[in-house]
């Protein structure tokens, strides 16, 4: 009891040590930490759109440069009311989902083979590196010859565009699976298929998801290119038609739809990712 009192007495007299001149140590650990700022993104959007609206109304932005945001909104509303929105959106969504499903599936399959078998790695990695930088749009005429002017060529273009990033992401993800876990599996005599199914695949999931995000964004970009040829309906076709008529309101309405589509897909992937990768710390 006496000891405790003595300790307290010592602790309560810091000035005895410093000789009276006590200054607090300044805090310098701030910054460089990503914090959550809710609503900031919305503010930026509102500010930019507000600026455009003001400029086009006041006249210091000519209507040839930028359409009035409220007009774009009106075009969107009209598109929705007339039912044309879904007539354009549904074929596009179909092309997007079929094309990217084929591309992602093939990409993951080839990526896994490269990740698991050295012979596949030796044979295919240079090929993928050669294919990756080809602008897929340049191959569009070829795809039309190969797959016809119908849906098949559009699927093929989107599939081809999503395939290469998915291959690279997949074998990178497999390479990044903790070797210690694989050695653990071997030390417990797990079957090869068990190690692949229960250790390699789940371990590669985080990498697969980041590849998926990139691939799906590329798919949206390629959608417009795919609809350049022989598409009557589709968001891409709608934008291209508006562009050739220099109808800025409709052009921007289409662009807004694509942007929203991108945000929605990204959010959906994020949701699925969070659910599947709940084990991540």
């Amino acid at each position: 009891m006496g000891d405790a009192a003595a300790t307290r007495a010592r602790l309560s007299q810091p000035d005895a040590v410093t000789g009276g001149s006590a200054t607090e140590v300044p805090f310098r650990g701030a910054g460089f930490r990503a914090g959550r700022r809710r609503g900031t993104a919305l503010m930026v959007f509102v500010l930019l759109i507000g600026l455009a609206e003001w400029g086009t109304r006041a006249g210091w932005i000519s209507s040839l440069t930028l359409p009035r945001p409220s007009d774009v909104l009106a075009t969107l509303a009209e598109l929705y009311r007339s039912g044309l929105l879904f007539e354009h959106l549904l074929p596009s969504l179909g092309r997007l989902s079929v094309g990217s499903a084929i591309g992602v599936f093939m990409g993951v399959t080839i990526g896994l083979m490269i990740g698991l078998f050295s012979i596949a790695r030796a044979g295919l990695v240079p090929l993928v590196a050669a294919i990756f930088p080809i602008p897929k749009i340049a191959l569009l005429p070829l795809f039309v010859i190969w797959f016809g002017i119908d849906e098949a060529s559009k699927y093929a273009l989107i599939a081809f565009g999503t395939f290469t990033p998915m291959v690279v992401a997949t074998y990178g993800a497999v390479d990044n699976v903790d070797r210690g876990l694989i050695r653990m599996g071997q030390s417990f005599n797990l079957r090869w298929t068990s190690i692949v199914r229960k250790i390699v695949l789940p371990g590669a999931m985080p990498g697969l998801f980041s590849g998926l995000r990139i691939s799906l964004s590329i798919a949206i970009i390629l959608l417009v290119a795919a609809e350049m040829l022989g598409a009557e309906y589709g968001i891409g076709a709608y934008i291209l038609e508006a562009g050739s008529l220099y109808d800025l309101e409709r052009l921007f309405a289409g662009v807004v739809i694509l942007s929203l589509l991108g945000i929605l897909i990204n959010a959906a992937v994020g949701q699925i990712e969070q659910r599947i990768l709940r084990w991540r710390s």
């Binding site: 876990l181 050695r183 084990w279 710390s281």
Partner: protein, 255 residues
């Protein structure tokens, strides 16, 4: 089942890591291998379990593993090696799923080993929710689940803080008291070695050779932190290792 290490030598390229190691590991004993860092003790352990092949010499199993042993040579790793996407029970289940066991048998093994490692309440916890000590308990439970003939423990407590290490040592002693198991226990921590080892093999620095084998005869449960006899053993080991460790420490690492 015993293990005989018969004249094992090994080199990685030009770097000789082990030289002519001959050692018998008898049933029911914990053999600790200590040595300065880089002396090849982990390499030796990987060879005993068949994860690496010695360049010269052989590793022999003497006798058949006990019936019912699913994986006679079983590792406990320093970094636990738990699948982060599986719960504690799921991680144990993983090593049983490739064996022909009924669901009920599997569940009863999992329950049994979780109870033995005092983890019954944590069966459904993911590794990220567990402390380091708990994770290593799960890894030990996983090792016990396959009924090993010999446990190969590669610095199992090195990633833990001193207090947790003490608790885990007590747990291991209690486990051994209940059912004596055979183990090769690699460590650089001499206190751990004298607490857990029946025999302590001292390796020299690279290339690792057996410098001495110290027998500690006292009962595992009777050993405690402040035991003067253990302290004497520890000091003796330290004298054996001191110069080697200093020399190993001063070596340049070849790029």
């Amino acid at each position: 089942m015993d293990i005989r290490i018969d004249g094992v030598s090994h080199a990685y390229g030009a770097t000789e890591v082990l030289r002519d190691i001959t050692l018998d590991i008898g049933e029911g004993q914990i053999v600790c291998i200590v040595g300065p860092s880089g002396c090849g003790k982990s390499t030796l352990l990987r060879m005993i379990g068949g994860l690496e092949r010695p360049e010269k010499g052989r590793i022999l199993q003497l006798g058949a593993p006990p019936s019912g042993s699913l994986n006679p040579l079983t590792y406990v790793f320093q970094d636990f090696a738990l699948l982060p996407w599986r719960t504690a029970a799921g991680n144990i289940s993983l090593v049983l799923e490739d064996h022909r066991l009924s669901e009920a048998e599997r569940q009863s093994i999992i329950r049994d080993v979780l109870a033995r490692t005092r983890l019954a309440d944590f069966a459904d916890a993911l590794p990220k929710q567990l402390s380091g000590g708990m994770k290593q308990r799960v890894a030990i439970a996983r090792a016990l689940a396959v009924k090993p003939a010999i446990m190969l423990m590669d610095e199992p407590l090195s990633a833990l803080d001193a207090q947790t290490r003490e608790l885990l040592i007590e747990d291991l002693v209690a486990l051994w008291q209940r059912t004596p198991f055979t183990a090769v226990y690699v460590t650089h921590n001499l206190s751990e070695a004298v607490r857990l080892g029946h025999r302590i093999v001292v390796l020299s620095r690279r290339p690792g050779q057996i410098r001495d084998i110290v027998e500690v005869r006292s009962d595992l449960a009777a050993r405690s932190v402040a035991d003067p006899a253990l302290e004497a053993h520890r000091l003796r080991l330290w004298h054996l290792m001191r110069d080697e460790a200093a020399a190993a420490d001063a070596e340049l690492i070849d790029g």
